[in-house]
């Protein structure tokens, strides 16, 4: 009897029988509990606002692309599903020449979002990505770019950075950005 060695054989046997009957009674009680199932296509499950689903590229409040194609997201990506190349506009603004995410490889870990220095790449609570053709899961820049600011409504990278660019057609010189001091003349004698 091993574990039941201190009990008599008869009471141990009754314990075992009772245990089996109790198990069955407990299962039978579940006849009256509600099923936990969410009947998906008809009934959508609740997805939190920060749920990690389909990846988008956002724009800043001025409507310009936030992505500066720094490649940090592609470097952070554990499955190497992001491919992009940088190009520089005439006014000094940096953009992605192409930006490609292969969603058949993406594991929705959100590392790209964490790595992004300009809040450009963000994950959204959209999970309905199924396609009949595998090739359709490769999203190009025009599929990824949205006309919105995503989770950070007021953030604009170029208004903070010390890079001279055009914002809404106006030239923003070096030193004009928010919380930025004018450049120091390193050849001057004054401190």
């Amino acid at each position: 009897m091993g574990k039941f060695s201190k009990q008599s054989t008869v009471s141990a046997a009754f314990d075992m029988i009772f245990s089996q009957l109790r198990t069955m009674a407990l299962v039978l009680k579940h006849t009256f509990t509600k099923a936990d199932t969410v009947e998906y296509p008809e009934q959508k499950p609740y997805l939190a606002p920060r749920y990690r689903g389909r990846i988008v590229l956002t724009r800043d409040p001025d409507g310009e692309e936030r992505c500066v194609a720094c490649n940090l997201c592609a470097a952070a990506c554990p499955v190497d599903c992001i491919a992009l190349q940088q190009t520089v506009d005439d006014d000094g603004r940096k953009r992605a020449d192409f930006f490609r995410i292969n969603f058949s490889r993406c594991i929705f870990c959100g590392f790209c979002e964490e790595a992004c220095p300009t809040y450009a790449i963000q994950l959204t609570p959209d999970i309905e990505l199924a396609e009949y053709d595998r090739q359709n899961l490769v999203y190009e820049k025009e599929h990824l770019l949205i006309n919105g600011v995503g989770k950070y409504h007021d953030y604009s990278f170029y208004r903070h950075s010390g890079i001279a660019v055009d914002i809404n057609g106006e030239r923003k010189a070096k030193g004009d950005a928010q919380q930025e001091k004018p450049p120091i003349d390193i050849k001057g004698l004054m401190p």
């Binding site: 046997a13 089996q20 198990t23 069955m24 407990l26 299962v27 039978l28 579940h30 006849t31 509990t33 509600k34 099923a35 936990d36 199932t37 009947e39």
Partner: protein, 324 residues
């Protein structure tokens, strides 16, 4: 001549009803297990998913009916047929209602036990002919399990035979008009039920299949229609064991008087069977599978002595005139 034709028609109707019922049990079982596990179960095909079995059947017919090149082809092919046929044969002696029933065999109970023993061949031959390790292990277990549980299955129903004085199942039912045999043969009923579960190798005694350890046990190598036959045999034998329990211990189609007039006897019989089927499904959802040596020692060390004791006490009471 006309008699034979009527009999043949009756047999055809019974088989034509039994097989769809066994198929429906697959859906009932999946649905009930779902409910007991706080899920919904299959509910997409048709209203409440009632056509799920039909969809499964169509799918299984579309599968390749593969015979492994390393197997013994002839035995491999006939093994599933033996299983299904043996179970269907047993239904010949079941009295469904006062007027329905294929045969009033005088040795009906023995015929049932014989057919139950024969169905072991299906499992053993399937495992042997498959020529694969899992299948062989499964069928080896099946042989040991079914042979040892057969012994006290036979002994457990001898109490019923003692009290009714007949091996004829219809007479056994009629002898219960003044009270079902469950009152006097409770121990015999429990032993018969346990042996029955082991005979139909259902959980918790599904060691021949044991999908968690033996992939699928004796039918690992089977696919398509032959696999479906094994499945059919299993669900038919669940129905058979339920029907036998009702006939032997719960008065068959008989009901106490106020209830008996509410429904026709056949419906009462089916309702009682359904209760047992539900119990079988509940067992499957709730109890874990014992180890193989535990199963055998449980059978030989506890069930067999209990069955003998039950027989002895029943015989002594009968002789002493306790049962009148």
């Amino acid at each position: 001549m006309a008699d034979i034709l009527v009999k043949l028609l009756e047999i055809t109707i019974i088989i034509a009803l039994l097989i769809p019922i066994a198929a429906m049990l697959v859906w009932v079982e999946r649905r009930m297990i779902g409910i007991w596990q706080d899920r919904l179960g299959p509910n997409r095909v048709g209203p409440f998913g009632i056509l799920q079995s039909l969809a499964d059947l169509l799918k299984i017919l579309g599968k390749e009916d593969w015979i492994p090149p390393f197997s013994d082809r002839i035995v491999f092919t006939i093994a599933p047929v033996i299983g299904a046929v043996c179970v269907l044969m047993s239904f010949a002696v079941i009295p469904f209602s006062p007027s329905i029933g294929v045969s009033d065999l005088n040795i009906g109970l023995l015929f049932f036990l014989a057919m139950a023993s024969l169905s072991v061949y299906s499992v053993v031959l399937a495992g042997w002919a498959s020529n694969s390790k899992y299948a062989l292990l499964g069928s080896m277990r099946a042989a040991a399990q079914m042979v040892s549980y057969e012994v006290f299955m036979g002994l457990s129903v001898m109490g019923v035979v003692l009290l009714t004085g007949s091996f004829n199942l219809r007479e056994i039912v009629l002898a219960q008009q003044n009270g079902w045999l469950i009152q006097t043969q409770f121990l015999g009923f429990i032993i018969f039920l346990i042996a029955g579960i082991a005979e139909s190798h259902r959980l918790p005694f599904d060691l021949p299949e044991a999908e968690t350890e033996l992939t699928a046990g004796f039918h690992t190598e089977y696919s398509g229609l032959k696999f479906a036959l094994f499945f059919l045999g299993e669900y038919l034998s669940v129905t058979l064991i339920s029907a036998m329990s009702v006939v032997l211990f719960f008065g068959g189609w008989l009901m106490p008087e106020p209830l008996a007039s509410w429904l026709p006897p056949l419906l009462w019989f089916i309702l009682k069977i359904l209760c047992f089927v539900m119990f079988f499904i509940l067992l499957r959802t709730s109890l874990p599978r014992p180890r193989f040596d535990q199963l055998l020692s449980f059978g030989w060390k506890y069930m067999l002595p209990l069955a003998l004791l039950n027989l002895l006490v029943t015989a002594a009471f009968k002789l002493g005139g306790v049962y009148g």
